[in-house]
Structure formats: structure tokens, C-alpha cells
Amino acid sequence: MSAQILTVKMENIGNLFKAIAADQKLYLPLEQAGQVQFLPYDPADDSQKVRLDVLNTVRSAKDLFFPQSENMVAFKKQGKKIDIIENREKVEAFTVFGVRACDARSFDILDRVFLSEPVDVSYAERRARGTVVTLACNEPEETCFCETFGIDAAKPDGDITTWIADGLLWWQANTNKGVKLTDKLLSVDAGLFVDSTGEAKALEEQQEKIREIISQLPLHGLSLEYFHKEELKTIFNSPKWQELSEACIGCGTCTFVCPTCQCYDIRDYDTGNGVQRYRCWDSCMYSDFVMMAHGNPRTSQVERFRQRFMHKLVYYPANNEGIFSCVGCGRCLAKCPSSMNIVKVAKTIGGEANV
């Protein structure tokens, strides 16, 4: 707790949002038709309901850095002449407020993929322009198991970390991007924050409370060490995959709600006055995923199902110093139509080692 901690009364959190949104776009967990999403905050529109109590948005914050679909390039053809038009979306600076600890960790997992050579230009640009303000979750749910991946839900990382405790919003900048935003806010409205670096006792109590709840969650103590130790081939050839994948209907829900899924497809669309090439999320559960000239390497749902969890628990860790490509946010546990998910897979494949 060495760095400076500021607090804002919960009642005038609105002014904080207005201050942030003054010169850049601010994304908040807003309610739209009964669902909470990260949507741009519009200071003028007071019908927007900010929902900081909801644990997880259905579309994770990944959508702000790696959107579901984005233009790449367009071609226009006149007779024999083709000209290429760069029409990628221009990204200005933005802040996203209310990111949970698990989602915050997913950015690091995605960075390892998109920011390593060859760098993904549009992802890098969005990451550079975005400031992540995380908010600790006071009421984790039974589907949470971020602790398994060494994430401390009480102390989420991110450019700025905030907590809600004792009617106050506690604000702590961690990175220089965070400091820059804090200084800008202070320069705009000095009275916005109260410096309470010393008396953070209420905050520590809240953090203890969070950690205590997490220790009581049903999935507390779930360990995936089996996937580190066990040899890839035995996991791959386990007979349990057939039984596990029976219920899977091959939709893309688990992949599209997952904050760490990173596969995408590039498609062209003939708009009538030119061809628009764009990138969009793809799901390994789809039957035409990685469809190649000769056909599709994974022809049945068992193989596709196995590929998804092998990638998260075996292939990705193998390439990234053992870091699992899962942050335990629990979205796939809640949203799968057949209630099949990574925890059941881990327990069934891992056997007693994982209980």
C-alpha cells in the first residue's frame, strides 16, 4: 500500500465520471435492455444506469481492445484499375472503468499473443490508447475461480485500481498511464479526490473480507497442476473427451463470452461500391473453423471440443511459461446452453488430482 491512495465519496462518483469523460471516451458497465455491457458513458444522458454491483459483463472488456468485428482495408475496382483504401477505424484515447481482476489479467494473456512479433497493429494501438481502471469485486460468485490462476481478486492489477469500501471509492494509480490520468483529474478539479493514504484501514478490512469469501467459494482450491505435469499425448488421447463433448451443441457462446479467446477470421464483403475486408471473432467450436483448401482438420465435435480446452490448458501454457489461457471469470460456466465448461473438463480429465 506504499503508493498514494485517494478516495471519492460514492455520492459524487458521477462527477468523477464526468471529469474523466471530459476529454476522452469513458466506458462504464451500463445497463442496456436488462444486460450490463461496457458502453460509452454520455454525461448528458442521465437515463444511463451505471451497474457497478454486477460481477461480470457478458461481453468482457476484451471487446474494447479486440472488437468482435473491425474494418481492415477496402478495395475499389473501376474497369481494370483496383485501388486500396485504408479505412481502419481511428481510435482516440479512452478509459474503461469497472474492469474486474479476472478481465484485467486477460489483457496480459492477450498481450502475449497480439503484442509479440508480428505485432497486431490495431490491437497494439487500442492497448496504447486505452487506460484500464479496475474495480475489486466485493461479492464474488460461486462460478468464480480466479484464485486458481494466482489472481488476487482483492488487489486487481491494471493502470488504476479502485475499491468500494465503507461508502467510499478508493483510487490507487499503479502505472504511469494511471498516474497521468490521476494528475490530469487533479489538475482539472483539485477537490475531486481526498488524499487518505494513511487511513486505509476500512479498505484493508474490505480486502480481507473479499479474500475470506473467496476461500469459501465451492471452486476454492481447484488446481490445474495435472495439466502442467501430465504429458500432452496422454491428455490428448484420454477416452473421457468423447463423453464430455456429447452435450456440446457446437455454438460459439463459450468462445465469444471468454475474455481470453483470441481466434479471429478475416472475411471480405462486397458492399456494391467496393469490397470491404474485415476481421471478426471466430470460434473453434464452429464446423468451418480453420476450413482449409483440403477441408477441415477437425471433422467432429469431439475434436473441436478437445481442441478448445487443450489450447487453454495445454498448448498456450506450453508456449507461455506455463501460464494458463484462462482467468477463472466463470462466464462459460454460467452461459453454456448445455452447462458444459472448463471446470467439469478439468475435473473429469484430471481425475482425483484436481479435486
Binding site: Q78, G79, D270, G272, T299
Partner: protein
């Protein structure tokens, strides 16, 4: 990628007047796939077609787009031209820039812009065309003629002459139709019976012609070359093969109350009757509503007196099912009902008659034995008034909008015959315009007006009021510009004619199209006047539109030639734009089978290898000979497995895209 040639037609000035041809040709050069674009004054002419053929060879084109008139006009012409140049005839698309563009837009810029869009759309469709080869289907070497009037008889005779079997179905007990009721025929004034009855006898005796009189068509299935027709032979209650036609039964029959339809109700007939003496077949028919035996069970006198014992009360309707290669419609006409025209007093006085009734009165075989007598008191008329256009050229909605074409000539004929036989009778004719076009027709009318002193009055009749035995005809004389009243003994109304009411149901059965007046629509007034758009159905006589006997006979022979052309082929090229199912996508859910009007789809279990496994799947198969290509199945198929060759989903989507670009 296709190599497409675009040919823009000027159509003389029809298109060039409002569409800037060069802009269209220039615009087409940039369309994807187009390698050649040119224009010509008359693309459908010999020179135009050879320009196309030459361009096909020179640029080795894989498809051509012709921007000209409607495909319904010259699609077959340009397909033949392409075929002659070695190109598959279905790699031809037509952009209709005349009827749908040049003729209906005044502003040149707007019309040109639309022409470019329509041309671009045709090119977009052609890019996705694939060569199609028409399938073949068999031809049944037998024709069906519906209607036994002069039109039906003439067509049947000509077809039979060519050696093909013909069946005539006539709903009256005898063939002959309306012409049998006429006395004399214009312009030669020879008697109708002298022309008609020999043809009726030929028809009856010709070994290739079978007569189904007192019969109706119940249902028609199948399609060109293979019509499957059910004919209902209504029970005559007389054994036709034994009856000698002596007619004793018709004289002895006690029930005399029935109106004689043949004489239009001017006299009565028995319950068992022969319509007229020269009837073919000369076999009586029992009218079961009038016959006392059928109504009360007593009588049966005809059976007793019949020397050949040919009466059979137990006879039932009989359904005959036969196959035909072609169908000729010759259903003829009827005068319209005059309920809407009571100002002429038709329902108030028996002396106000229609022209057809006058034909019966003047006919030697008619109710008055040919003497001109007033129906009310059988007296001799001294003044007769003819009223033209009763119900024809009527825009008020209670009559027919069209001109019935034959009334001016037959009224001139009536006037002339009456003046010649009874010089003491004054004849007045109220007319709007006397229309006697064609060979010897106008001379005929001028002879009636000048030589026979028929008083033609240009004006309309306002009212015919029957007052103490006379008919006060109140009309106007536009030339003398005065109102006048004529005291007449008889008034003859030249009534409008309309198609027989069976036309509507036959059109539905044969899916032949009819117009708002129930006349059958011809495929094209000039290019294909005697064929219905529905392949295998031909039109003969007034069922296609008002016409006189010379034209009817000419059209009847024309229809016969078309039928002979069809029957002479052993194999018929059937429409290749039919449905076909992509078996990899097909779910086998039989939704398409439910909607197919022709039952052309059935299912088969097939082996499929996918992903290393073979699976047995139920897939749809289309019988290309039966499918007519309507496309109902393609829309009800969710996965798009069923598609229509020539109008595929992709092609129509490409057309929509091209239009909205």
C-alpha cells in the same frame, strides 16, 4: 470468368428516341466480364443477328446480353441466333429496355440511367449463368378439341387430315355450335347449313375423329405432350349405337313444356329431343328435368314406341380418361344477357328480339318455317328497326367495352334479305359507326344501304316503348340533328357477344391465361396469335376474341397447323429451367414435396462419405420431365439445397445487387 458480349438495339427509334444508346454501350464496357459491347438499329433483324453471330466467333464469347424489347418477344429469336453461332442457347439474357424503359419514360437522362441499370442487371445475371441442355419428353400422337362449333370442327378436320387422331368434346347433344342456328352467311349470302353440315358429316365419318357429344371435360393434368384428360360423357338415356334417329319418340313424347334452346325459346320441344334435323349424331337426348318418367316414375312412352328399343333410363354418366399431346380450345361464344338493357324493352315485348332470334325466324328450319312473322301475333311486320351496338362499345360498365365486330355485317345482311323478300317492309338501322372492313364487306354494306333502300340513321336509340300493339322507337338522328320517333312492328337488337362461361373453368384446368373479359389470352397478338402462353394449348375461334366465320375458319386451320407441328415431333424439348437439389445440403425434410404442384419430387436413401465416415441420408430428387420450374420448392427449402436452374438464388441476388448498386 465469363466473356460477355452486350448488344444494344435501337429498335428503330422506339428505344433510341428516349435512351442514349452510346452511353449505355460505353457504360457496359466497364461491367465485370464484358469483353465486347456494340449496338445496331434492328438487332432482331437478319443483319443484327449476323452481327451477334460474328461477334460471338470473333471474341469467342461465352454469353451474350441483348438490350432490346421484352424477352417475351424475341428471347427465342436471340437464343436461336446464339445456338447457330455454337453458343449454348441458355447463355443469353435479355434486358427489357423498351417496354420497361424507353416507352414509359419521357426524360432522356432518366431513361438512359435506367437502361444502364437494366443492362447491368442482365450482365450480373449472365455472369452466373451455366449452359443448360433441354431435356426431352415423349409426345402422345393425339389431339383434343374442346368445342364442336365450326372452329372445333375445322381444326379437327385439318388435324385428322394430317393423319393424327382427334377427339372433339361438345357439351351440346350435337356438334355445329352457333353457326348451325344461322340462316344465311355474309358476304356471299350462301346458307350456313350448306357450308356447315357437310363438314359435320365429314367430322362424324372421318376415321381419325371421335365425337364426344353431350360431354364435358372434368379435369386436365400433365403438360405439353402428355396431357391427361378426364372426359365426362353425360348420360343421354339413349343407346347411340342402336338408335336409327327415326325421331318417333320425339313426336310421341307427352311432355311439351320445355323451351327449345336451339330456337332460343321461340318454340317448345319434348323431354326427349333432337336439337335440329341435321344434328350429328342424330341421336335424341332425354332432358331428365322435364321427363315425366324421371320426375314421377310413370310414362316411359318413348321406350314403348321405339322400334329399336334404344331407350335406356338406367344409363349413368361415364368418365373416360385419355392422354393427349395437344389441346385446342374452341369454346365459342354466347350473346350477352340483356337484363341491363331494359330500355329497349326486350323483356316487355315479344316483338323485341335479338339478331340470333331473327336468324331462327328467317331460317327455313326455324319455328316459323322461314316466314318473317311477328312473334307476338304471327302478323306480317311493315316497319322494322335494327339497333346496333347493344351492349358493345359500352363504357358505362353494364355492357362490354369491346366492339363485337360481326354485328354491322349481319345487320346489313338481315336488312338486305328482308328488303329483297318483303319489299313492302321499311327497314331502319340506328348505328354509331358502321364497321365493315375487309374484302367485299363495305361494298356489301353499300349495296344494302343504296340498292335495297335500307334507311341507316346515325344515332342512338333512347327508348323502345310497347304501346297498343306497336313499338314506339324513340331515337336521335345526329346527321339531321333531330329527335325522331318511329312506330315499328319489330325491333331487332344487335346484341354484344361474350365467351362461353365454360372458358373460365377450362382456363384454370389448363392454366391457360384469360383476360378480364374471359377471352383466352394469346401468347402474342402478332407472333403467336393462335397459341396460349401455356405450351400445348391452342386457341381456335371466338374463344380468343370476337371474329366472323371466315376469320374463325382461318384461325381454326392455323391452330390445326400448330398442333400438327407439335404432334409431328417424336420428342419434345422440355424447359431446362427446372429445379435441382444439391444432395450435400439436402435435409430430406420433404417440405419441398408438400408444395410441388406437379408431384415432381421424390426421395431416395443415399450413401455419403464425410469426415471419414459413410452415412445413409434421405435426399430429394427432382423428375426433370415433370417439373415446370415454378420455384415454390426453392423458397420452402431452408438450407437452399433446392435451386432453380436459370433462376438460381445467386443469380436473383446478383440482379438485386446490380439494381441497388
Amino acid at each position: 470468368m465469363q466473356r460477355i458480349g452486350v448488344f444494344v438495339c435501337w429498335c428503330g427509334t422506339n428505344i433510341a428516341a428516349t435512351v442514349d444508346i452510346d452511353t449505355v454501350v460505353e457504360a457496359m464496357k466497364y461491367e465485370p466480364g464484358v469483353v465486347h459491347a456494340s449496338d445496331y438499329q434492328y438487332m432482331c433483324s437478319e443483319a443484327g443477328q449476323s452481327k451477334i453471330k460474328q461477334a460471338i466467333k470473333e471474341h469467342n464469347l461465352t454469353g451474350i446480353v441483348v438490350c432490346a424489347c421484352s424477352p417475351r418477344m424475341h428471347e427465342t429469336t436471340f437464343r436461336k441466333a446464339a445456338k447457330a453461332a455454337g453458343l449454348n442457347q441458355y447463355m443469353v439474357e435479355i434486358a427489357n429496355i423498351r417496354e420497361h424503359c424507353a416507352w414509359i419514360h419521357k426524360d432522356r437522362k432518366e431513361a438512359t440511367e435506367k437502361a444502364v441499370v437494366l443492362a447491368r442487371t442482365a450482365v450480373a445475371k449472365l455472369n452466373l449463368n451455366t449452359p443448360l441442355t433441354p431435356g426431352e419428353s415423349s409426345v402422345v400422337k393425339r389431339a383434343l378439341v374442346i368445342g364442336g362449333g365450326i372452329a372445333g370442327i375445322q381444326s379437327a378436320l385439318d388435324i385428322a387430315e394430317a393423319g393424327y387422331e382427334v377427339d372433339i368434346v361438345e357439351k351440346q347433344p350435337t356438334i355445329g355450335g352457333k353457326m348451325a342456328q344461322l340462316d344465311k352467311t355474309f358476304p356471299t349470302l350462301d346458307c350456313a347449313a350448306c357450308i356447315l353440315t357437310p363438314k359435320m358429316v365429314d367430322a362424324a365419318s372421318h376415321e381419325n375423329i371421335n365425337l364426344y357429344t353431350y360431354s364435358e371435360v372434368d379435369s386436365v393434368g400433365g403438360f405439353v405432350g402428355n396431357f391427361n384428360v378426364k372426359i365426362r360423357k353425360k348420360a343421354r338415356s339413349v343407346k347411340a349405337d342402336i338408335c336409327s334417329g327415326c325421331g318417333i319418340c320425339t313426336e310421341k313424347c307427352p311432355s311439351r313444356k320445355a323451351e327449345n334452346e336451339f330456337n332460343l325459346g321461340l318454340n317448345k320441344r319434348g323431354a326427349i329431343y333432337i336439337p335440329f334435323a341435321q344434328a350429328i349424331p342424330n341421336v335424341p337426348v332425354i332432358d331428365r328435368d322435364q321427363c315425366i318418367k324421371f320426375k314421377t316414375g310413370k310414362c316411359g312412352l318413348c321406350a314403348k314406341v321405339c322400334p329399336a328399343d334404344a331407350i335406356d333410363f338406367s344409363q349413368q354418366d361415364e368418365i373416360v380418361e385419355k392422354q393427349y399431346g395437344a389441346v385446342v380450345l374452341a369454346t365459342g361464344f354466347n350473346p350477352i344477357k340483356l337484363d341491363n338493357f331494359d330500355e329497349f324493352g326486350y323483356s316487355q315485348s315479344k316483338d323485341v328480339i335479338t339478331s340470333l332470334e331473327l336468324e331462327r325466324i328467317m331460317n327455313a328450319a326455324g319455328p316459323t318455317g322461314g316466314k318473317l312473322l311477328r312473334p307476338s301475333d304471327n302478323g306480317h311486320p311493315h316497319t322494322m328497326v335494327f339497333v346496333q351496338c347493344v351492349g358493345s362499345r359500352d363504357t358505362t360498365g353494364c355492357g362490354k367495352t369491346y366492339c363485337s365486330k360481326i354485328c354491322c355485317m349481319y345487320t346489313a345482311k338481315h336488312a338486305m334479305l328482308i328488303r329483297e323478300k318483303y319489299p313492302d317492309v321499311d327497314v331502319h338501322v340506328f348505328y354509331i359507326d358502321v364497321r365493315t372492313p375487309g374484302k367485299n364487306f363495305d361494298e356489301f354494306y353499300r349495296r344494302a344501304a343504296e340498292d335495297y333502300g335500307v334507311n341507316y340513321i346515325k344515332g342512338m336509340v333512347g327508348k323502345v316503348a310497347p304501346t297498343n300493339g306497336k313499338l314506339l322507337v324513340q331515337g336521335s338522328d345526329l346527321i339531321a340533328d333531330r329527335q325522331l320517333v318511329i312506330e315499328a312492328d319489330m325491333v331487332v337488337l344487335a346484341t354484344a357477344i361474350e365467351p362461353d362461361q365454360t372458358a373460365k373453368s377450362l382456363a384454370t384446368m389448363l392454366t391457360a391465361s384469360i383476360d378480364t373479359n374471359n377471352f383466352f389470352t394469346e401468347a402474342h397478338p402478332k407472333l403467336r396469335p393462335v397459341e396460349s402462353p401455356t405450351a400445348g394449348v391452342f386457341l381456335s375461334g371466338v374463344c380468343q376474341g370476337p371474329k366472323d366465320i371466315p376469320e374463325t375458319v382461318a384461325q381454326a386451320s392455323a391452330a390445326a397447323v400448330k398442333v400438327i407441328g407439335l404432334l409431328s415431333k417424336d420428342k419434345l424439348m422440355c424447359n431446362p429451367c427446372v429445379a435441382n437439389s444439391n444432395e450435400l445440403l439436402c435435409n430430406g425434410c420433404s417440405n419441398c414435396q408438400h408444395v410441388c404442384p406437379y408431384g415432381a419430387i421424390d426421395y431416395v436413401e443415399k450413401e455419403f462419405r464425410a469426415g471419414g465416415k459413410t452415412s445413409l441420408r434421405r435426399v430429394a430428387q427432382v423428375n426433370e420431365a415433370i417439373c415446370q420450374g415454378c420455384g415454390a420448392c426453392t423458397v420452402v427449402c431452408p438450407s437452399g439445397a433446392m435451386d432453380l436452374k436459370g433462376f438460381t438464388n445467386q443469380q436473383i441476388m446478383a440482379e438485386v445487387d446490380a439494381i441497388c448498386r
